[in-house]
Symmetry: C2
């Protein structure tokens, strides 16, 4: 029997155990082919069926309209930081970004290679502890960009900003894709590194409205164009086959438990357990994110002293609650409770934190 | 007991069975962490140890000097087709390429985005059935580029071309890296998609001499610079952790059987079995590659008629010899016999081909 712990790392993150068991079972022989999925040609019919089902699962789970394309790319969201502005540039218009932390800043930095960037809202004034409201995107931007969830600070957009006219909204959903029901039609582009909420590291999911594929200058290297990958259904070159396969298994599990509406309910319950604990701790645990901006995925909090924080992380680890150290930008602790974290894990963590408070306040 | 067949696909390709079994065994619990390697933070000490060992294995197996850096990247060799010229450009000098087939042409196409490309030698005149000799690279090129092995045609450089002065030689070794002992010092850059000879799809190995990292213009998107990844030991962003791990297991197996010198001996034996069979078939099997350019990795051949070729592929499949259909550019059949193909697989194929000839000539 393999040892299994509760993994609160910010990502790569815990995966559904039934998906991992399936992968383990068929690792040497995928669907009777006598080969591992890792050994199977990406041009074989067996691989193709798996690949198509992975995309279909994304489409069903997120109710993605037919005029959006689904891509499996490499290079992480970090590559989309330059590919999004490269692909979405239009007539020299400026790009409008909201700055909600480290990952927004990285996106902004790369966008500047392709045009003028305007930061139309920021929460940097309070160490990114909130999501700006009443964001004023202008109607002549090439596109608008937000980071949907901010792992480091534990903030998440609760509602999507209005974007005027036909300006497409691009969103980095790496750390919360499929954590709740969304209306994909509000977005022009959604991208997400898989390794937090839907699969392992090594693959990036991209969802793009097809009319946006025509913007990129023809004179661009082939691999940098979303269009290249759309035309070949993400099989222009050999893709990250195994990572796509694990996404397929993980998303299949999500569908089997009731899909995004059901996991949203569970996510809200899980987050409430921890936020209630913080709010009822008489200030022993202090949340970093403002209550109206709190993330369902990353619960960030501080203890009265750095020494107590260190002690708490250490004692948690001894109880097989792993990966709770906060990011250095915020310090303290961070519990990442992505889709695949079972509610039992959150309850175990909450019990531990209550006991830790009793013993240390 | 899992069914296992002999996999002659051009890639993704067969992997060493002991490596796959190890991966299967520790899939749910990597080294006692209670997590899958896929769930483990890329910033954890357990991941870091694995990551460093993967690079050390490459360095030991290829005897790579200290002034070369080893990178694990995403995007396939197809991404290096633009990243190599982007990173190796210098003072507006031209780039010199040898055209040995489809993959060379793709590399040439992407290089043109970054400078003038001169094709200094080509074997297109005879459907890429040979490797050009006496290649005349000039001393004022920014770099020289070759495709070391050509999967489609079954040709491979038998010796490396001379490159004058300090012009760095770049080589796409995707389909034959570590198939034989090479002197890395002859190269400025070596890149290889992992999925043929050293691991699964989803990761690209890059070996680069460190003095070449200073050429790229500062004003380049972060992810496109090799330097970015060198400075962070391929952990600038979350990498393809699982694919690197499988490379580590696969390369560990290679080391355990005696490393590259030993696998070269086996590769030469395996190739000889098939080429001897072709040469002794009285013209029933006709090799595509000229004898002095034959690949150790991909044995390409035709039968007297397309009907016989189809029949042969079909009957092979019935005997669990899979993936033998040739590429449409050449037709016929192709047996890809990469490092992880056991000699038993090649013998089984040879026996089948002998019998097929007896029954059908």
């Amino acid at each position: 029997m393999a040892k299994r712990i509760y993994n609160f790392y910010a990502g790569p993150a815990t995966l559904p155990l039934p998906a991992l068991k399936k992968a383990q079972k068929e690792l040497l022989d995928f669907h009777g082919t006598g080969m591992s999925l890792m050994e199977l040609s990406h041009r074989s019919k067996e691989y193709d069926a798996m690949h198509k089902e992975a995309s279909s699962l994304v489409r069903r789970l997120m109710k993605i309209p037919d005029d959006y394309k689904i891509l499996w790319l490499q290079g992480g969201a970090s590559s989309q930081f330059y590919m999004a502005p490269l692909n979405l540039q239009k007539d020299g218009k400026s790009f409008e970004y909201v700055n909600t932390g480290v990952w927004s800043k990285k996106a902004i930095k790369e966008a500047k290679f392709y045009g003028e960037v305007k930061v139309v809202a920021s929460s940097e004034d309070e160490n990114f502890s909130y999501i700006p409201k009443n964001i004023d995107f202008s109607s002549d931007a090439a596109f608008a960009h937000i980071t949907g969830n901010n792992t480091i600070y534990g903030t998440e957009f609760q509602e999507w900003p209005d974007v005027p006219g036909d300006v497409p909204l691009a969103c980095d959903m790496s750390s919360h894709i499929m954590d709740k029901v969304i209306d994909v039609k509000k977005f022009g582009v959604i991208y997400a590194g898989a390794q937090k909420n839907i699969g392992p590291a090594g693959v990036t999911l991209l969802i793009v409205r097809e009319d946006l594929l025509e913007r990129i200058p023809e004179n661009t290297p082939t691999m940098q164009k979303w269009k290249t990958h759309v035309e070949k259904d993400s099989l222009f070159n050999t893709g990250p086959c195994w990572a796509i396969y694990i996404c397929k298994l993980s998303l299949g599990h999500l569908e089997s438990i009731g899909g995004v509406p059901e996991v949203e309910k569970i996510n809200r319950k899980k987050a409430k357990i921890l936020y209630d604990l913080i709010d009822n701790s008489n200030g022993f645990y202090k949340g970093h994110a403002k209550p109206d901006s709190r993330s369902l995925m990353n619960v960030t909090f501080n203890l009265p002293t750095p020494e107590l924080e260190e002690k708490c992380v250490k004692e948690a680890l001894e109880k097989d609650l792993v990966g709770l150290k906060g990011h250095r930008s915020v310090g303290g602790m961070r519990a990442s409770i992505y889709n695949a974290m079972p509610i039992e894990g959150v309850n175990t963590l909450a019990d531990f934190l209550k006991e830790f408070q009793e013993n240390n306040q």
